[in-house]
Symmetry: C2
Subunit: 227 residues, 2 copies
């Protein structure tokens, strides 16, 4: 993969992580903050978010702030959505105004779980990313960070994570930005993965990775070859 | 990935490739034959299949035979289905008896194409693999070889192909067999990818790889990390 453009400058931007109090969101916030980015953690409760942010700041020696999801969405220039699938649509609907004009990165995997493991849920709009795009008509919605292990993201002993992040979107400037964001995590590479209409399978692939994790006792990730 | 079982012995088996006259089927037949396996190419016309088989045999210096799809299905111990999505269900219905008691490896990607590239088609049964399983109730259906580039498979200059083959199925003996089959292609590794109900996203991921091929001028493949 050769780059024909200058990497976007992320240093002047604030990255909000909605659902940043859960393992995946916390893990992404940790990695972005360690990379020197300005990060605000959003959650349902401002108090809880502030507590998680303070704990994380102490652990990594870099200041991360916390707020409720609305305040975090307002503060963020780029807003990552890392909330449970249940309530995804409702939350985004409530934040539509705050997210207008911003790049919104949907990281949500609509999965179900039963005795046989994980499986993909059907989504009326096709995928979480497309649901976000259908609701947030004044934002630029990108799908990304679906297949990165929360365990690895949160593990302070893990210096590099050997995985690619597939970035899905229809607007080149936004997908370039999110690829650059993925690139800030050591070992990770942001790779353009197609348009939003092809987000479903990348979200759903997480079910397969969970099956592999069981079978091989691993934290499986994905690398794209020849790119 | 460490193996706790002896690799299945493929040398006594005949591998039939239905739709073996198309690029993907021809490419798989080439690689399996070069690995020393017994391969029969199936196609709609026995004559055309015999012609493709003769051409392939001359090119690689190993005998591959050709037959119509029914005869190939009857000859195969393991039968790969590499036909276009249109007609997939009809063909399998017509071969149900011939395929009874056999391992059937579905390699079909239900994709549509328009000006914006490739996209996943909706499949009533969930995926091509699940459609095959719904029809072939007396066979053991495994999904595999969805994401391997036909261009690379067919290129005699390409010695090794850097990709994993995700193998999807509910019967361990059959998935182990198909993983071993994938392993015969230099560079390729067969990896268990989950149950049949999680086949859709692996089939559909081919649309994303096609998007990446366009963007990066590549023949993108997938490697699973930490496995």
């Amino acid at each position: 993969m050769t780059s024909d453009v200058t990497a976007p400058d992320l240093s002047a931007l604030t990255f909000a992580v909605l659902g940043g109090t859960g393992p995946q969101g916390r893990g992404l916030a940790r990695r972005f903050a360690r990379a020197g980015l300005t990060v605000v953690i959003g959650g349902r409760s401002a108090e809880k978010s502030a507590g998680v942010a303070a704990e994380l700041s102490a652990a990594i020696g870099v200041t991360v702030t916390g707020a409720d999801n609305l305040a975090a969405a307002e503060q963020g220039d780029v807003v990552l959505v890392v909330v449970p699938w249940e309530g995804h649509g409702e939350l985004l609907t409530s934040l539509k105004g705050a997210l207008a004009g911003k790049v919104v990165v949907d990281c949500v995997n609509p999965l179900g779980f039963d005795k046989q493991g994980a499986y993909a849920l059907e989504v009326e709009e096709g995928s979480a990313t497309e649901q976000a795009a259908a609701i947030l008509t004044d934002s630029t919605v990108v799908g990304a960070f679906h297949n990165v292990s929360a365990v690895l993201l949160e593990d302070p002993e893990v210096a590099t994570i050997e995985t690619d992040v597939l970035v899905l979107g229809d607007e080149r400037e936004a997908t370039d930005l999110v690829q650059a964001l993925a690139d800030t995590i050591p070992g990770v590479r942001g790779v353009y993965g197609g348009r939003r209409r092809n987000a479903h399978q990348v979200e759903a692939l997480t079910a397969n990775l969970i099956s592999m994790n069981r079978r091989y006792k691993a934290h499986a990730g994905v690398r794209v070859t020849d790119v």
